[in-house]
Amino acid sequence: MPVAPEGMSGEPGSGGPPLPEASLDAEATPEPAESCGGFHTPRDRRNLRRFHLRVIAATLLYLGATAALRHPAAAPVALAWLLTGLAWLLAVVAMGSYLAFLRQADELLRRIELEGLALGFGAGAVFALLYPLLVALGAPDLQGEATALVMMVSWGAGSWLAGRRFSGYTSGRASSSGPGSP
């Protein structure tokens, strides 16, 4: 693939002066945290932080609403309604934040996120459709949250795997059918 061989200084046809080896190998050594370091641009980090804060707020409200519904004696119904409504609202807002993050993301990061989402959705759909067969065969009957958990874990795992692949931590290089191909 298009990887420049080591020490390609003075490559025929490059039209440039001999290349400094230090510049060519600059990426081999870890660089200090810079504005565009890693997979995230400053905007990505900002958008991701906003998304995470809203997810945390929605999760806290969800836990609060759950506690209020389980202990009706301790919490008035109005409080349960309020917490449930706010949890819904924050969850929808968080979803919008993630969409904004995805639309504005660095293009490689967006590719990685989409691969993670694809794996998460696929794993969740397979689990939701096929696990009932296992239940019929004697597997424990899990609650509905199990599918969401499978989706979220698979999403994270898919993003991590794609990130490793594009950053070159896995063996082998991309071919024409690899991650770089359309």
Partner: protein
């Protein structure tokens, strides 16, 4: 797709982070393009060409058999 991004960048003595900042992308994106793990979008390819002052064909070239 092959590319001469690493050569062009080294000619200007830019680090990957510097180039990434000029392009408004992450350093890993520059790294992935240079190492052939990722082919950039058309807008980013045009951005690279404009930044280096060359035509896209002088940066990117298809590998044999890659173009239908």
């Amino acid at each position: 797709m092959t590319n001469r991004l690493r050569v062009l960048r080294a000619e200007r003595r830019w680090s990957q982070a510097e180039l990434a900042e000029r392009l408004g992308v992450s350093r890993q994106t520059v790294n992935a393009i240079e190492t052939g793990r990722y082919d950039p979008s058309l807008p980013l390819a045009f951005g690279l060409a404009r930044l280096f002052g060359v035509a896209i064909e002088q940066i990117f070239a298809p590998e044999p058999g890659e173009v239908p």
